[in-house]
């Protein structure tokens, strides 16, 4: 069990003018840990995710990342170039809408290969081999490697986006509603895939979802947000089986049983 956190989040708040995006959020994320952030629309989940992943600058608070050289770096104090490099290599970001994370008019193979080129790989044969390997891992037929994601179904696009993010062996992946908008059988396949990959690669992940079943299946730990604040957190099983806060009890009791 690793003793030092990968990400240290200390008292992060984000205000949009006088409106609260998220406030006073603190937690540590350890290597290999999967954290789910749940809550209804407008509760601040996505704002928090954006603050953590440097897509938004927090109004106050500090987010520190444990770099591969063993040093902690304050993300807000990093240069733009360095931050972009981190996002392309050590991190992944899986968007709800694959079109936001993919280049829709270049081939599937190039979508995966591009991230490898970003880390300095220049050998065409190696890049193509890595791309085919990853397409296979996310269950996309090799015969589709030269097709553009425009020609893919929603589920395939999402799997391609995951391959594109994981090809550089990131240590931390952010996911924003990764299964939103997919029908249930496609969702099951994606969940199984994500679960396997997270486990095999020892990834740390922060997953924003409003679907408690997704959180139960994928996450170790869970934070429940309401009105921008974290109102309850703990082991995923504990939060779902023994919710303490009124809002968490309402959420859990609102799950539809099949």
């Amino acid at each position: 069990m690793s003793a030092v956190p990968l990400l240290k989040v200390n008292d992060v708040s984000k205000f949009y003018g006088s409106r609260i995006g998220c406030r006073n959020v603190s937690f540590d994320l350890f290597p290999g840990e999967v954290l789910a952030i749940v809550g209804e629309s407008g509760s601040g989940k996505t704002t928090l995710l954006s603050c953590l992943s440097t897509r938004l600058m927090p109004t106050s608070g500090i987010v520190e990342y444990h770099m591969r050289d063993g040093q902690y770096r304050d993300l807000a104090r990093m240069g733009e170039a360095e931050r972009r490099f981190l996002m392309r290599t050590d991190w992944g970001f899986v968007h709800q809408n694959p079109a936001d994370g993919l280049r829709m008019t270049v081939s599937a193979g190039a979508n995966v290969g591009e991230r490898l080129m970003a880390v300095g790989d220049r050998h065409y044969g190696n890049i193509r081999a890595a791309a085919s390997d990853w397409l296979e891992r996310v269950e996309i037929g090799i015969d589709r490697i030269d097709d553009q994601p425009r020609a893919f179904s929603g589920g395939m696009r999402q799997r391609l986006q995951i391959a594109r993010n994981l090809v550089t062996n990131p240590r931390l992946v952010f996911m924003d509603e990764p299964t939103g908008g997919l029908d249930v059988s496609v969702q099951a396949r994606l969940l199984d895939l994500v679960r396997g990959l997270v486990h095999d690669l020892g990834l740390a992940a922060i997953i924003v979802t409003h679907d408690l079943a997704v959180a139960r299946l994928l996450s170790h730990r869970m934070m429940v947000m309401k009105d921008g604040a974290v109102i309850e957190q703990g082991l995923t099983d504990r939060v779902l089986d023994d919710p303490r806060e009124p809002y968490t009890q309402l959420l859990v009791s609102s799950i539809l049983q099949v």
């Binding site: 840990e33 679960r195 089986d241 806060e245």
Partner: protein
């Protein structure tokens, strides 16, 4: 050898915020310990808090007061206050649980569900699957089902997958929540035998068994949970 599990003055209540915040006390002053190789059966009528105690021991339920001490990795861990990642580490290496119902994962085969806890402890997938196959045949689960996800299995079939998954590792502490509830006589006997093997290997077991025959066969001691009733404690 240290006592694997010591429970001391544990109390638990639920606050139902959706029903005007009424507070339901469940148990209070729960105190007991389980020795290595011992099987303690939680007894008492339905609703007295047996399952709640098991869930607190596993960390699914929070604990209001008291300590749950387990020997994990040569150290004493208080599960009542442990961090989530410590709880998960204890579950991986020390604490097993056979729940009443199987929580199925879409698309994962019965064999892999059973093999998973061994894999999580670093055993190679082929070896873990071989051990899983051994257990599933011992529990008479038809071979044709092994490669299927158990979502469509019958209650008894799911329960056997669950039992195999719980018994595959050599965890020092094993919690059993009615593992034989939906099994026929032949498979009940298999489970009784498997529990006896665990005891012989020095596992500490805590279980709930409504079936008297099974209970008498496995229990070293029956702990009457009604003694921990909070109403009694208040009186």
């Amino acid at each position: 050898m240290a006592t694997p599990l010591v429970v001391s003055e544990v109390a638990k209540s639920f606050t139902m915020h959706l029903r005007d915040g009424i507070r339901l006390p469940v148990v209070a002053n729960v105190t007991f310990s389980v020795k290595a190789g011992e099987c303690v059966v939680l007894g008492g009528p339905s609703g007295v808090g047996k399952s709640s105690i098991l869930k607190m021991l596993y960390g699914n339920y929070g604990v209001d007061e008291g300590q749950i001490l387990m020997e994990h990795d040569g150290k004493l861990v208080n599960l009542a206050t442990a961090e989530p990642r410590t709880v998960l580490e204890v579950r991986r290496a020390t604490l097993g649980y056979v729940s009443q119902f199987l929580r199925v994962v879409p698309r994962v085969s019965a064999l892999d569900i059973v093999a998973e806890p061994l894999q999580a402890r670093g055993v190679a997938i082929e070896d873990a699957r071989a051990r899983a196959a051994e257990l599933l045949s011992k529990l008479n689960l038809p071979t044709a089902l092994w490669s299927l996800p158990p979502a469509t299995f019958s209650g008894g079939e799911q329960q056997r997958v669950n039992i195999a998954r719980g018994f595959i590792t050599d965890h020092k502490i094993l919690l059993l929540d009615e593992p034989t509830a939906s099994l026929d006589a032949k498979n009940r006997a298999v489970v009784v035998e498997m529990i006896a093997e665990k005891k012989a290997k020095g596992t500490a077991l805590i279980g709930i068994f409504h079936d008297e025959e099974v209970r008498d066969a496995v229990a070293d001691r029956i702990l009457d949970v009604s003694a921990f009733s909070p109403r009694k404690a208040a009186a």
